[in-house]
Symmetry: C2
Subunit: 330 residues, 2 copies
Amino acid sequence: MSLGRIAEATGVSKATVSWVLSGKGDEHRISVATQKRVKDYAAKHNYRPNMLAQGLSLGVTKTVGLLISSLTDPFYSSIAKSVVEEAERYGYTVMIATSESNYEREASLVSSLDRRRVDGIISTPTEGAKWLDGYLAGGGKLVLLDRPVPGEDAPCVGVDNEQSAYKLVSHLIGKGLRKIAIMTTAHNLVNMQSRQQGYERALADAGIPLDGKLVCNVPPQASVEQINAELDRLVRDVPDLDGIFFTSHVLVLPVYVWFTNRGLDTRRGANWACIHSLPEFGLLLPEISIAQMTISKLGAKAMDMLLEEIECGRQLQERAVIINCEMSLK
Amino acid sequence: MSLGRIAEATGVSKATVSWVLSGKGDEHRISVATQKRVKDYAAKHNYRPNMLAQGLSLGVTKTVGLLISSLTDPFYSSIAKSVVEEAERYGYTVMIATSESNYEREASLVSSLDRRRVDGIISTPTEGAKWLDGYLAGGGKLVLLDRPVPGEDAPCVGVDNEQSAYKLVSHLIGKGLRKIAIMTTAHNLVNMQSRQQGYERALADAGIPLDGKLVCNVPPQASVEQINAELDRLVRDVPDLDGIFFTSHVLVLPVYVWFTNRGLDTRRGANWACIHSLPEFGLLLPEISIAQMTISKLGAKAMDMLLEEIECGRQLQERAVIINCEMSLK
DNA sequence: CTGAAAGCGCTTACAG
DNA sequence: CTGAAAGCGCTTACAG
């Protein structure tokens, strides 16, 4: 069922049908009788407006693309949830695409979203993200989420990585801990580097010399065995280890299990700190100190910024927004 | 940059440009020189085909909708991942929409996908799913995933709920356990009812009388407190409790913590069984018996069925496909 | 109060 | 080997 057929059947023009069905009937002073006739017919025949045609005609789709690394990672799925929620408040739909951390794939997804004429894109870009240039040059609207891309001036909303790490580690030091390990991963990411810098600054400010033996850096998709090996190395090298700072929530659970299997103090969490957390931490490690990324705020802010770009046309004045982590110090 | 402008600039017709750019240049015997001229111009000016126009013209979008309950639940995000993977193999894009288990929202999302002219929809429907009728009546293609809708004859791919439960509980009985509790939730869902039936049949076959005190049924989004209260009740009523069957992976972690906090046997997992599992189970409860839903198979099969509906036009002969769970009995 | 017409950017018979 | 033209289903100035 199309506009044209409704027009034919009800004996009015397509313009009239279009106006009536888009709620502009009164505005165009279409008679109540005609409006009713058209609406009834559309309803009875289950008219479904074709948004492809609308988009083509209007030049906007009221759709934004969300390009994230993965859906199975709770961090990204939470981002997706908050972006979708915020978008809906403004009548936008979001098309979700996942790069699976594969650069080629990411670039091709951008192109796909672009060909579908999304009004803009929010992305947690994979490293490099050369596609940025082309997309922006073509007039594409974009907001980066969580991961700034050095050397690009796309608007970005992220978190205070360095400072959160500093606060957490300082908190551990304040408890009297001195041999605090750092467990980190994906060290190529600027976010992770910032977190390590926060760790180092906290130690320096407390006059604690940096000890390379305390630094545990595991590869991005490290196996349990790799992590265990690193922990074995750590406790061998530093028998009087008394605290751990995790740069990412993904590392905590394997370490928890390693400690549990050795029958170590179940209250150990009190000497641990981590950037971000998972729901199960509340159950397993109630004593761990957390700098929680407020994902809902991140997602909503990114969406707001994108909407401003889209609807106001003008460049955003705030190019880089930082949302502070919520500290939960135990 | 549009087809028309390329045609103008290169001095050929829109038809020629369309054929060249869609790879049908040779087929239409366009001269190599012309083809090169057109392609070069398109590339230099960064031509991005407008898929809205293509979709409108062709009547198909090579896009399918995936309508799931949630993205933050690992079960659904895994489904999403597998559906997206399979779709891509056939050149389809998937639009993901989340109902958040809200029926109104779900119905409106179906309508939104429909208006966007997706070629078909895969859905894990919320209860009732009255929208099915209207969508199917309008010629919509649909495959149900995981959750059959009683009384509707939409094609569906699900798992052997009753049998998997039966196998798990029989396995526990085979270990000599006699006081096996069932922890269940969302009992309004047919899947959950089937699982409970499997539990009951296993007991019956072993000549063990059904004991209502062993049945723990908690509400869908139960708080830790509610679950704890139910467990308190259970061990009070059944002090010689010796096993637990979980109808869903979501219940295991809170119970694990409840047991841990009471300092109970860490090898307790050996007397537990669960339908489906989460990655952390491998770390925390290596001894639990599992009937694992092979989500990748479910997703891929649903997509295959939908594709067959879409591309072959004909009704599917296999209306209900069951993918058996993978048993891991410890 | 309502209509005729052009246009959005494609594709594809139909011609030559 | 290539073009002119109609059509997909909408929206929106422009008329009357």
